[in-house]
């Protein structure tokens, strides 16, 4: 990891995690994490299951006590009883295990949580926001995992918190649920809220997070905006062409490195692959070379992830 990628703890960040270590007996779940989340941004902790994302999040909300290091959320220390009491009304949390009373119905839970936060209950509005409109009478035990997750999201949002913690928020959700959650996150970011989310879905991190922090075995292995991660670690873009009689000219040679396997030519470029592709096609046409196949690949966040961690996000991969 490049030293310049480590965000040094910044005093005015909404969340400042400095040298966080969490051990459970022999197991070191978090092995020295340092990062800062700026106000009004979405921060994604991306990594495999068991990388230490949830433990980190738990230390931010006062559920887990750091073995070493410190955490500040809105300038408050979650390990301090009084600070935690001041912090609770200002944060909203969606936990991984939805942890809702199974015999309660949607409207009752929303009412109870409104009472916890001393706000007027808005069951209809909140249910509609998470796509549970008309389901206020549904019992939790009869809802799908995705529906329970959406209700958990509504409970995290109802009191309009300044900071949101979402732990694997779309795990078990269908496409409908994901769309709703993604829409809410984007809306809340636009409203100036600070959001921390853990995920092991590349697309989710890429779409939602302003900064992505890749966590592997309790350590941060890279932290930057998605585009930056791709630019730095994703490798070259490639353009491949198979065409009889094709050969790159000096102009194409200047675009990057060419390799050849039989009739297949491949360009690895740091430049814009779309332009390179156009130039390659123009060159083939000027040579009257019949194009058999043509392919362009732009480096993705997944490429960057694999390059950084040496593994894929799939557990079996």
């Amino acid at each position: 990891m490049h030293p310049d990628e480590t965000s040094a703890p910044v005093a005015n960040g909404a969340i400042v995690v400095d040298g966080l270590v969490k051990r459970y007996g022999e197991l070191e779940a978090v092995a020295g994490l340092t990062f800062t989340v700026q106000r009004g941004t979405v921060f994604g902790l991306l990594g495999r299951n068991g990388a230490g994302k949830t433990t980190t999040l738990e230390c931010c909300i006062g559920i887990g006590r750091p073995t070493a290091g410190s955490v500040r959320v809105l300038g408050l220390d979650p390990t301090d009883r009084r600070d935690l009491a001041r912090l609770r009304p200002r944060i909203g949390v969606q936990l991984q295990a939805t942890s809702l009373p199974e015999k309660a119905n949607v409207g009752e839970v929303l009412e109870l949580y409104a009472a916890y936060y001393g706000i007027a209950p808005r069951p209809d509005e909140m249910a509609a926001r998470v796509g549970l409109d008309g389901k206020l009478d549904r019992q939790i035990a009869q809802m799908s995992g995705g529906e329970q997750q959406r209700l958990a999201l509504a409970l995290a949002l109802q009191h309009d918190p300044e900071v949101l913690f979402l732990d694997e928020p779309t795990a078990g959700m269908d496409a409908f649920g994901r769309r709703i959650l993604w829409g809410e996150v984007e809306r809340l970011r636009d409203a100036g809220k600070t959001i921390v989310l853990t995920t092991h879905y590349i697309e989710e991190a890429e779409r939602l997070a302003d900064r992505i922090c890749i966590v592997q075995r309790g350590k941060i292995v890279a932290e930057a905006a998605a585009a930056e991660l791709v630019a730095r670690y994703g490798g070259d873009a490639t353009v491949s062409i198979a065409a009889d009689g094709f050969a790159p000219d000096a102009e194409l040679q200047a675009l990057g490195g060419w390799t050849r396997a039989g009739a297949q030519w491949k360009l690895a470029t740091r430049g814009e692959p779309g332009l390179a592709l156009a130039a390659v096609v123009t060159r083939a046409n000027s040579l009257a070379a019949k194009i058999d196949s043509l392919d362009m690949h732009r480096p993705t966040l997944e490429d960057a992830f694999i390059a950084i961690t040496g593994e894929t996000l799939e557990e079996t991969g």
Binding site: I63, V93, L95, A97, P101, K103, A104, L112, A115, G118
Partner: protein, 247 residues
């Protein structure tokens, strides 16, 4: 105001949700003590009008206070933790005492229902008469509930799983009910044994409750035992507060 609303909504939720979930169990909770009363009354005596029902009604109510604390609070808390309900409420601004207080109110309402049913059946079928001062009866009943809720909370704090909480509660409740003057008089045991058993908070509570309710004794004469129960309650509360885990 906010706290009052929190408490009221939480308490209302407890009633609605637990009744929805435990409907069948609540029936048995109310029916079993009556079953015990009838069974033991006939087993230990020649029939109605004997002294044993007079002994059994307060004894069974006392045993229910025990199991309410150990099962109703202790095991329930372990279940809540296992299902991650505790960690979810821990991150809300609700003060922990509201959560406990509303749980205790729910258990006390069930206890009150059990007591009313037992006393009614006892009076109608076995001519049991409650002659004590109602305020003193209520006071000793509340103190006993406080004692066994605080001791039960230790089970909820220390048990890692619902299963182990269940085991601890069973190991405690069943023998205690038989060794604490609830179902059978302990003065049938050798003197040394019964003296030792009177050191148990359960015996102290049940004997005091019985003497005050059906014998019309004054609570003032039981100062030492009331003090012991207060001390047990304080010890239980301190240990619970020190060891309780929300996650």
């Amino acid at each position: 105001m906010t706290l009052l609303r929190m408490f009221l909504v939480q308490t209302k939720s407890n009633f609605v949700w637990y009744f929805r979930r435990d409907g069948e169990m609540i029936f048995w909770t109310l029916a079993m003590p009556v079953f015990f009363l009838v069974l033991f009354s006939f087993a230990f005596s020649s029939g109605p009008n004997s002294g044993s029902s007079q002994f059994l009604v307060p004894g069974i109510i006392g045993a229910q206070v025990l199991s309410s604390g150990f099962w109703g609070v202790g095991v329930m808390l372990a279940t809540f933790r296992e299902k991650h309900l505790l960690r979810r409420v821990y991150i809300t601004p609700m003060p922990p005492w509201i959560f406990f207080a509303s749980l205790v109110v729910y258990r006390m309402a069930l206890l009150a229902a059990q007591a009313v049913i037992l006393v009614t059946v006892g009076a109608l079928v076995f001519h049991v008469r409650i002659i004590g001062n109602p305020a003193e009866i209520l006071a000793i009943l509340l103190l006993g509930t406080a004692t066994f809720v605080s001791l039960g909370t230790i089970i909820g704090a220390l048990a890692r799983t619902t299963e182990s909480a269940n085991n601890i509660a069973s190991i405690l409740t069943v023998p205690l009910a038989f060794l604490s003057d609830a179902y059978v008089p302990i003065d049938r045991f050798p003197h040394a044994v019964s003296s030792a058993l009177r050191l148990l908070p359960s015996t102290e509570f049940i004997d005091t409750f019985r003497d005050v309710s059906v014998h019309g004794a004054s609570l003032a004469h039981y100062g030492a035992w009331v003090l012991m129960l207060v001390l047990w309650t304080v010890a239980g509360t301190v240990i619970s507060a020190r060891t309780f885990r929300w996650v």
